[in-house]
Structures are given as C-alpha cells and as structure tokens.
C-alpha cells in the first residue's frame, strides 16, 4: 500500500469537504444572522447556500478529475464514481430548489444541513469498494434520512413513519453487518475484489458453501431494504406518505441512485464467481436466482398493490417498489451494458420521481392532502405543473419518447444481450413488460383526476412561484430530452 498523506487524502475528498462546509455555513448563517427573519427568507438563503455548495463541489470534480484507489479500496475514484457524485449533487440541488417554498418546519437550516450531510454520505458510498466504508456510509445516510423523515414535528404521521423507518433500518443494518462479517470471515478482507478472489476457493462444484449462501442472503436483505424491494419494502409506503414531501422526494430519488449503485458493486464485484443462473431452463445456485426472485416479487406486488392506492404518495411508493424490481434486473444480468442501463434508469427515474413529488407538494399546499381527489381538475388550476406531472407519470409508465421508456427498453434489451445464454432471462423480461402494462392503469388514474375530472368547488387557485414552475419545467424537459436523445446521458456516464 502506497504511503498517503492526509493532504492528498483531503485533496481526493475535497468535494465531500466542500459540501460539509456548505452544511456548516448554512447552519451558522441561519443561526447568526437570520434568527429573527421570516421563514421564507431563511429558506431562500439556506437553499442558495446549499445549492452554491453543491455547485462548487460539482465544479471542483469537473475541474480536477481524479483516478485513485487507496486504502484497500476504501476510496475508489474513477470516471464513473465522479460522474455519479455529480449526478447526486445535481439531484440534491434540484430537490432543494423544488421545495424552496416548503413551510412545514421552522428549522430550515438544520433541515438543509441534514440533506447536505446525507449527500456527503452518498458521495462516499459511490466512491468506495470496501465493505466497511460501505456500511459506514450507509449508516450515515440512513441516520440522516431517519431524521429527515421525522422532521415534521407537527405531524404524528411523520413521527410514526420515522420510527418505522428507523426500526426496519436498524434491523436491516444488522443483517448487512452480519453478512459483511461472514464475508470477512470467509475471505479475510473487507475489500470487495479480494472477497471475490477468495470465492473460488470456497465454491466446490455446483454447490456453494453454506456460509457464503448465508452471507449472500444477509447482504441482499440489507441492501434490499435500502432499495425497497419486496419483501423488505414495508417501510416505503409509510415513509413516502408520512415524511415531509422534500424528505420523501430525497429518499425516493438521490438515495435510490446511490443504493442501486452500491448494490451493483457489492453483488457484481464482491460476489463475482457465485452468480449462479436464473434462466428458464438453466437454474444454478448463486445470488442471481435469489435476486431474480426478489425482482419478480417486487414487480408483481408493487404494481398490483399500487392499483388499489388512493393516496398519490403511497401510490408512488408502491410504484417505487415495482421500479426497484425492474432495476434489479439490471443487477442480476451483471454485464457492463446492463450496468449502464441500470444507471441510466436509476438517474432518469430519480429525476422523474423528484418532479412528481414537486407537483405533489404544490397540490398539498393548495388542498392540504395528497389523496387522488385532491388532484381533481388540477389542469384547470395549474396548467403548467399539470403538464409536467403528465410527463413525469407517463415517463414512469414507460411511454415513449420519455426517458422512462428508453430506460426500460435499454434495460430489458441489455438484460437479454448480457450473455449468450441470457435469452433464458426472457421470462423475467416478459414479466417486467407485462407488469409495466399494468402500471399504466394507475398512472393514468392519477392523470384522469388531473385532466378529466372537474375541480371541486371552493378551491381558489394559488399563485405558483415562477421559480418552482421553472424548475419543474426544467425537469420535465430533462425527462423529455433524455428520452429523445438518451445518448447525451449514456455518453456522459
């Protein structure tokens, strides 16, 4: 291991440092100068500082691209990791901008700081290949998210969902830790590549070592919780519904991207050699069949339960479960192309769902709820956000030419091309496509309320600030643009 000065290390993690500093500045500015100002002003200032911090970090990364693999894989910087960091920073900035007028709390600066800290943990998460750092980052991320979820102290629901999230999260962390310790026991290392190198020694013939199986299952449980895959999804509907809208949006977007990224890293790099196979006629034990089961369950359950929802946020939660199912396909076919497809899907999905939550926030501010009936006649009250919502939901449903469609297409075709035998995965693709046909039903149901039904009497349309409309439009345009010209993103990654 090469000698590494702390200064070098600091240099490598400077983007994270910038974001941390931004968080601290947000806190101190708010505490020192704006104690007595009105909430709106504080929110704007905090948002501007946060976004400035994120932008500075992005600029730094773009300015000084690094490539490094230090400390036994604890910090791995390469092109892809840095691009992921930028993506996460952009998503965070967008989250902050969309919800710039949220008024659910007085503690604006703390809230912003937490979001930024969560972002820092995600940035670490995407730039490591060491189980230890993975676990630490995940925990830091989770802790921030728990607090963000329960941040609305005036809402019992917020507190309840935070507790639920916390309990489930704690257990899953325990599973993950257990799995990691087993892996360490098996391979004597926490570095993913070293773990993978030791797997051939413990794989005998077609059968896997029982301990390895346990480790695989434990890891899948732990990470499955983060991505809200069935059967580890129970927290999702409550959190999506109970948390303050910005928190829910953040959980649904940025943290999803990071979690899927690391999920892929752990499974594909860490368990290389123990894939097994889940093709229709060629089953072999390994983590792929296990993930296949989880993916299939997620797709089916998520879509079918979403049909029954009357709360749009819960509906999005179940739709998130089903999308997690699709994205797991990208992991289990573990080819370079499917990884790219997975990232494309995850990023566009995050963008889309963020926009959807942005519109939900508008509706909640206007009508005080997120039930379907609150959306009735929205297109007459707020044509621009309605149109954006149309684009977001149709993209989630996978209607061309929006990003969601190309994401699905690319993902599914890459699953099939991943290896010559991968055509055996066709059953999963068929299931996925069939289920996405089902999903159109509930997305259209929302849009029916928005466009078809007449608005209930007695609601006076609120003026929507131009900034929010503009940010929503930018995201909608992004979804459209990435759908029409997916190459922009694919080339960039």
């Amino acid at each position: 291991m090469s000698a590494l000065s702390y200064l070098d290390l600091l240099h490598l993690v400077l983007p994270q440092v910038i974001v941390v500093v931004a968080a601290l500045v947000v806190l101190s500015v708010d505490l020192i100068f704006l104690r007595t100002s009105e909430t709106h002003l504080r929110a704007v200032v905090a948002a501007i500082i946060s976004v400035a911090g994120c932008t500075a970090a992005i600029l730094w990364i773009l300015h000084a691209p690094h490539s490094a693999n230090v400390l036994d894989g604890m910090l791995v910087l390469n092109h892809l990791a840095q691009r992921m960091q930028i993506t996460l920073l952009i998503l965070t900035s967008l989250t902050i901008l969309v919800f710039i007028e949220s008024t659910f709390t007085q503690h604006i600066s703390e809230y912003m700081a937490l979001i930024l800290l969560a972002t820092v943990s995600m940035m670490f998460l995407v730039s490591t290949q060491n189980l230890l750092i993975i676990f630490l980052s995940l925990e830091l991320l989770s802790l921030s998210l728990y607090v963000l979820t329960g941040f609305n102290k005036r809402s019992a629901r917020s507190a309840e969902s935070a507790l639920k999230y916390f309990l489930f999260g704690g257990i899953s962390a325990a599973f993950l830790l257990f799995g990691a310790s087993l892996l360490y026991g098996l391979s004597n290392s926490t570095n993913l590549e070293r773990i993978a190198n030791s797997i051939p020694e413990i794989v005998h013939g077609p059968f896997l070592d029982p301990l390895l199986i346990v480790a695989i299952v434990m890891t899948i449980v732990g990470l499955g919780f983060k991505v809200a895959a069935v059967p580890f999804h129970f927290w999702a509907p409550d959190v999506y519904q109970g948390a303050p809208v910005p928190s829910a949006a953040f959980i649904a977007s940025g943290s999803k991207v990071a979690a899927f990224f690391i999920f892929y890293q752990v499974m594909v790099i860490g368990f290389a050699g123990a894939e097994g196979s889940s093709s229709w006629s060629g089953y072999a034990p390994g983590w792929v069949p296990a993930l296949a089961v989880v993916a299939a369950l997620s797709m089916v359950l998520g879509n079918l339960v979403a049909i029954l929802q009357t709360s749009v946020r819960r509906l999005l939660a179940y739709s998130a479960v089903s999308h997690a199912g699709y994205m797991l396909l990208g992991i289990l076919s573990h080819s370079d192309q499917s990884f790219r497809a997975l990232l494309y899907y995850a990023i566009t999905y995050a963008l889309t769902v963020l926009g959807a939550f942005g519109v939900i926030a508008l509706v909640e501010e206007e009508t005080g709820g997120d039930a379907l009936s609150n959306f009735a006649g929205l297109s007459r009250r707020a044509p621009v956000p309605s149109f954006c919502l149309l684009i977001f939901l149709l993209s989630l449903a996978g209607i061309p030419p929006l990003a969601g469609f190309f994401g699905k297409f690319y993902l599914f075709s890459s699953v099939l091309t991943s290896s010559p035998a991968a055509i055996g995965l066709l059953w999963l693709v068929v299931l996925a496509i069939a289920m996405s046909a089902v999903s159109l039903y509930y997305y259209l149901k929302v849009l029916k309320y928005v466009y078809v039904l007449d608005p209930p009497a007695g609601i006076t349309p609120r003026r929507i600030s131009l900034v929010r409309q503009f940010v929503l439009c930018v995201m909608a345009l992004g979804v459209l643009l990435l759908g029409c010209a997916p190459n922009l993103l694919l080339r960039w990654l």
């Binding site: 061309p400 297409f409 075709s413 149901k445 694919l490």
Partner: protein
Amino acid sequence: MLAWTIYISFLGVLALMLLPRSSVLVARILALLTAVAGFAVTVVSFAQQRSGELVTVAQASWIPSLGIEYHLASDGISLTLLLLTGIVAIAGILFSWNIEYRAKEFFAFYLALIGGVYGVFLSFDLLLLFVFYEIAIIPKYFLIAIWGSTRREYAAMKLALYSFVGSAMVLIGLIAAYVIAGGRTMDLVQLSQFPFPVHFQMWAFPLVFAGFGILAGLWPFHTWAPTGHVAAPTAASMLLAGVVMKLGAYGCLRVAMTLFPRGLDAWGFHVLGFGSWRDVFALLALIGIVYGAMVALVQKDFKFVVGYSSVSHMGFVLLGLMTLQQIGLDGAVLQMFSHGVIAGLLFAVVGRMVYDRTHTRDLSELETMHLGKVIPFAAATFILGGIASIGLPGFSGFVAELQILIGAWRSFPLAAIVAGAGIVIGIAYTWRAMQKAFFGASEPGVSADTHSLPAISIPERIGAVILLGASVVIGLYPQLLLRVIAPALHSPMFDGLWKGSGR
C-alpha cells in the same frame, strides 16, 4: 419532405398549447391549417413518387451505441395510409367544429395523435416505430375521457390498457428479435433480411401479430373497439376507427409478417384442425367478420352498430393479410384505406350530425324523429356511407373486399364463403340501422319539435363530401392506390413472406 407531416403536426400541438385559453376559433383554424398542411405534403409526395418503392425520407444516427437510427422512409403502403390519415384528420377537425369545451386542448391532443400516426407510418426503425406507436395511445385516452360520452372514463381506460398490453406484447417480440439479431441494428429492412431461427419465429410471430392485432380489432381482443368508439367524441371515433385501427393492421403487415415470415409456416402437426398460426389467425379474423356483423345487427345504440361494423370490416383486413396472396394483401391495404374513410364518415354522421343534434343514439328513439325529413343531408350521407360500407360497386369497399375474397378463396375457400356471408349480414345491419334511424315507420305527421334541429353546417358538409369523394374516387379508380401498393409488396422486405416454405 414527408417527414414534415410529423413535424407540422407536433408544431401545431406546440402552437395550440401556447394559445390563450379563450381563442377557440383561432384554435380550430390553426388545427385545420395544420391538418391541411400535413395532407398537402402527403399529396405532393404521393404525386412525386410514381413507383411505390421504398424511398428514404430522413436518416440519422440516433443512439449509436445501440445501432438505433432515426430512419423515416415511405413506400406505397405507407403513402396510402398517410393519405388516409390526412383525409380523416381534416374531416375530423371539420366535424369537431362545434367543440367549445376546452377546445384548445382538444385540438392539441388531436394533433398529437395525428403526429404519432404519421410517425408510425413513416418509421422504418423498429424502435422509432414503437415510439410513435405508443405516442398515439395517450392522446386517445384523454380525447375520450375528457370529451367523450357514454361511460367515457371506463372506455378510455379500457382502450388505453388494451393498446398498452398490445404494445407490451410487441415490445417483447421486438426486444427479443433485436437481441437475437445481434443487438446491432433496429432497422426494419435489415432485420427483415435476418434469418431468425424458425423456433423463435414460431413464438415471436403470434406474439407480435396478436399484439398489433389488438389495435386492429382482432377477435377476441376487439372489445375495446366498440366501447371506445361509442364513448369517443366524433372526431376521436373517426380517428380511432379510421386511422388508429389501421396502425394495428399496418404493424401486423409491416413488422410481424416481414420479420417473422416463417412463423406463418405449418407447424408440422395439427391441433383441433389448425396446422399453423396462419390458420389460427385466419379463423380469428373470420370470427371477427361474422361476429362483428351479427352483434351489429342487434344493437340498440346507433353508434354501437357502426362500432361493431368496424370490427367486422377490420376482420377483412386481417383475413386479407393471412391469405398470403398478392391479391389478398393488395386488398387488405386497400381495405385499410377504404374502411378508414367510410368508418370515418359513418361515425361523423352518427356522432356529429345525429347525436349532437338529437342528444340520443337510441335507435328506437330516433325512429320517432323522422330524421330522414328533418336532416335529409345526414340521411343521404349515411345512406351513401352505408352503401359504401356494404361494398357496393363504385365505392372503395367493393374493390378492396373483392380482392380479399379472391385471395381468401385461393387460400381458404371455406373462409371466403363465410366472409361472403359476413358481407350479407353487413347489408342487413346497415339496412336496419338506416331504416330505424332515418326512416322511422310511424305516421308521416312530423312532430313539431324535431323541426327545430339545427341545419347541417357547412364544415360538416365539406367533411362529408371529402370522405365520400375519397371513397368514390378509389372505388372508381382503385389503380390510383394499387399502382403504388403492389410494387411495395414486392420490395425486398417482403421477400421472406413470399419465399416462405410451401407458398
């Protein structure tokens, strides 16, 4: 140049969206101009293209890493259907001249649908084709759900889901074909030359064919069609029956049959008397013809009669495809055109001329209104449309159905006879609907209130004349279209189809 049909339509959508909400008349005129411009472009290209062979309109790299191209092209089949789209689009706008409720949005959705349809007919890259195919689904939903009538939300959702399930089936087949062919290209012409393994074609063909067939009203997946047509506002049902159902049939021909021609081969064994998918789909088409006609015979709702008649007539298209005879395929393409204009006309009469004035479509209520005397123009139009629909010579339906029947006779003699019986039932239901709706049997004393129905407006008259004229022109001189259809069916794309074993 043809690519402008798509761009113009979407530019029209954009322009309509930017209009202020109150300018209804401007919206109408803008929509009409857009449709006319699209049609004009088509006509000019049609006049320029003499032979009907494949001409590339636009080609550019789109997603290079996947080998996907932005490839627009047209051959005789596309041109025929583009013409149809232009005609029906113009007529549909003329027949929606009375829309006041959210008119701007109506025309925006309408033009978006048109743009999608143009796109499908011009795309020669599978992904592009699929993109446009799906773009057409969403506007349909809103057109029906917002401006529709009877059970509109149910019908709209049913239609959207059926379409989407169909396209999901298509997508599976397309992705599988793309992957098996090496994942390097989605170009329709190139893929149609790729020798897919027969066992793959054997399951991909029925999947994709049925997927497109859903939109073409293939029995037993047709049930969206009557409810959708009935619930839709006039212009939307004109487009649905006139053009959108043709998307399905076009997909069957252009994609399913060119990519997987061996899927039509004999299985080598018989199940229940079926020896191949060709037999199966021919039978389904036949059932569609007869079943649609029989059900149309007993409907109480005027629009349902026309709705089921669409199922019946689209059965002819599918039967024509399954004949795998030059003459049958010619007929099928011609029938797409013919049914497009005729169904558009009939829906216009039922929805706009009758329903918008009387606010009822119940045949037994219409029977008492003496509409034949009160709105003679509507009666005359329906009669002519009905005559065209039952395939009387001189109208486009005759030549088309005749060719299909001849083709069917050569392939499945019994089917030709049954389909002929379907035509006879067609005479019966058209006859019945006409009698009941316009020439009620009661006393000649016309009740006073029906006199107050507003007269048939000028846009309606123009629209009716356009559609009827198209049917008559093609009926009298089918060579106009056959001239470009026949060479198109002999392009290299269809080689596999003609060369298939035992044909």
